[in-house]
């Protein structure tokens, strides 16, 4: 037995870009995060060939999860064809041999910036959300050490207080994206800046969601079939964005989360934010067998 038989030949990068020890750390932290739903786990956050703040947290998780049989979908605000999304998707397939897709139903890993796809995800799929700021308490407690104690003690009074203050000052809760949500009745997490529209999709979902912040070096998870409850007062119902009645000007679908395109005349037109859903709808209208899967919202009402 020689050293050569025990070691691998030198290569420019490891499989999936990250070296084995980095991936091992991430796997351990992901397991821990799954074990304590919603609790933030610190990790080392290695360098990847992308600037911090552009999805490095999500990318490291995806690179750890990926294998040659994976099918990877990457979306940026719902779109598969954004420069950032396309670049990340190509990078992942190039370093791992995984195949690429735009179709939510085909994907095994969906890495997303700020949206949850409209089609219902399954048990064998993983949603990886890119997180800019993982700490829901940052606004009320700038000291991270104290914020960790507050999580440990489930001391969320101040967080509730900010919601109370919003109603007192503005008449309604102003929190738009990143609505603080209680996971499994214990830890409050920020569900990354997904719109309020998407938060109910995480509640008791079939799929695993991993949320990862590369710059802040923390990740946390919502395991399958885990409660995710937005913090709301019992007599002030949780409201999602008022998009139920809007219709996509290109695909004609309605009852989904829309992008607003302001027009010169002062009005707006809308396009469905989940761009692949729009494409499927157009293909269906053209007679293609491109079936749209079950969606969380039906006719603008959350029904899953």
């Amino acid at each position: 037995m020689s050293l050569a038989t025990l070691t691998k030949d030198w290569a420019a990068t490891s499989y999936g870009f990250l070296d084995a020890s980095a991936k091992r750390e991430l796997r351990r932290k992901m397991l821990k995060a799954i074990a304590v739903p919603g609790c933030q786990m610190p990790y080392a956050s290695r360098e990847v060939p992308m600037a911090r703040g552009w999805g490095t947290g999500g990318l490291q998780v995806t690179l750890t999860l990926v294998n040659p049989n994976s099918v990877v979908k990457v979306i940026d605000q719902g779109a598969d064809d954004g420069v950032n999304a396309a670049s990340i998707r190509r990078f992942i397939s190039r370093v791992s041999g995984a195949s690429e897709t735009w179709d939510t139903l085909e994907a095994t890993i969906v890495q997303s910036r700020h949206r949850v796809p409209e089609e219902i995800m399954r048990e064998n799929q993983v949603l990886v959300l890119q997180v800019p700021n993982p700490e829901p308490l940052r606004g009320v407690e700038p000291n991270i050490s104290i914020a960790r104690q507050m999580h440990a003690d489930a001391d969320y009074g101040k967080l509730w207080l900010t919601l109370y203050e919003q109603i007192v000052r503005k008449g309604r809760i102003m929190q738009g994206a990143a609505y603080p949500s209680m996971v499994n009745g214990r830890h409050v997490m920020t569900p990354s800046p997904i719109p309020r529209w998407d938060v109910p999709k995480l509640n008791m979902s079939k799929h695993l969601t991993i949320l990862s912040a590369g710059r802040e070096k923390r990740l946390y998870a919502v395991p399958p079939y885990t409660r995710v409850e937005p913090l709301v007062f019992s007599d002030r119902p949780y409201l999602v964005e008022d998009h139920a009645a809007l219709t996509c000007r290109r695909s004609g679908v309605s009852g989904f989360f829309m992008n607003e395109l302001p027009q010169d005349g002062g009005g707006s037109v809308f396009e469905v934010s989940d761009s692949n859903l729009g494409i499927k709808a157009i293909d269906c209208a053209d007679g293609a067998p491109d079936a749209i899967g079950d969606t969380w919202y039906r006719n603008g009402e959350f029904s899953a």
Partner: protein, 273 residues
């Protein structure tokens, strides 16, 4: 004249008629900060509905003792029990941080001399009161609102300003917000740490009057720390006099002021008069 041979006041017996058990009992509390012995074997007993005054100069240990009653600090030795349902014989210093926080939120209210310690200055006044209720698990906005209004009203805070930020309010009003926050959950014990020190004399009288009213209407057990004998005399049923971390004398308020037994108390009382 040899004073030592003269008769001292009779030793007081243990309570015989009082049927109620003490609400608060602190036993042999000692605390050292470096070389400073902040508290030396302090005992304290407070009965339900009583106002216990603690007087002493700065550094006498009175505020340290109050902070311990609020479980903000633990002594080097000594026990602390509060007669709360299910916790009768528990040394509260043994509680975990979480248990301590929940116990304080539900059963102990405190008003600090410095409102910055007790209030979130940039949140609304009503929100400051509501926070207590939120910690205790209240999740209805309307109930939070009405209970905050109720507590502020009981503290004689002008309700048209209930959503003003404490930072915009006068010192007397800030103390009323602190008081409302402290009593919002009807605590078993209300701790007052120099609550009127630094206020104008007229404002001080009004705040003391509010405290008196609350005490009369709700029979809240209070522990009041002050270096101001006038405040103690107005408020307290019984008084503990502290010096250098020790209780040098305690008794009924009128007795301590009219017939002080310890040389230090005599000096204190005469200096005031």
């Amino acid at each position: 004249m040899n004073l030592i041979s003269e008769p001292a006041a009779l030793e007081r017996a243990a309570p015989r008629l009082m049927r109620a058990e003490p609400l608060l009992r602190m036993t042999d509390i000692s605390k050292r900060y470096g070389d400073v012995r902040a508290l030396r074997g302090v005992d304290a007993v407070v009965y339900p509905g009583e106002v216990m005054g603690i007087v002493g100069e700065s550094g006498s240990g009175k505020s340290t003792l109050l902070r311990m009653m609020n479980l903000e600090d633990t002594p080097d030795s000594g026990d602390y029990t509060l007669r709360l349902p299910g916790r009768e014989n528990e040394n509260l210093f043994d509680l975990t941080r979480y248990e301590r926080r929940m116990l304080c939120a539900r059963h102990i209210g405190i008003v600090y001399q410095n409102p910055h310690l007790g209030l979130l200055m940039k949140h609304s006044s009503s929100g400051n009161v509501a926070e207590r209720l939120l910690i205790a698990g209240e999740r209805s906005f309307e109930i939070l609102r009405s209970k905050a209004r109720e507590a502020l009203d009981a503290s004689e805070f002008p309700l048209d300003r209930m959503d003003a930020r404490p930072i915009e309010l006068s010192g007397g009003m800030q103390q009323r917000v602190q008081l409302a926050k402290a009593i919002a959950l009807e605590p078993a014990l209300l701790l007052l740490d120099e609550p009127t020190t630094g206020l104008d004399v007229s404002v001080q009288a009004l705040v003391l009057d509010t405290l008196k009213r609350l005490q009369r209407d709700r029979r809240i057990t209070m522990v009041l720390v002050s270096h101001d004998l006038g405040v103690i005399r107005t408020m307290a049923d019984r008084v503990m006099v502290m010096r250098h971390g020790e209780v040098v004398e305690q008794g009924l308020a009128d007795q301590v002021f009219q017939d002080p037994q310890h040389p230090y108390t005599q000096q204190l009382v005469h200096a005031k008069l």
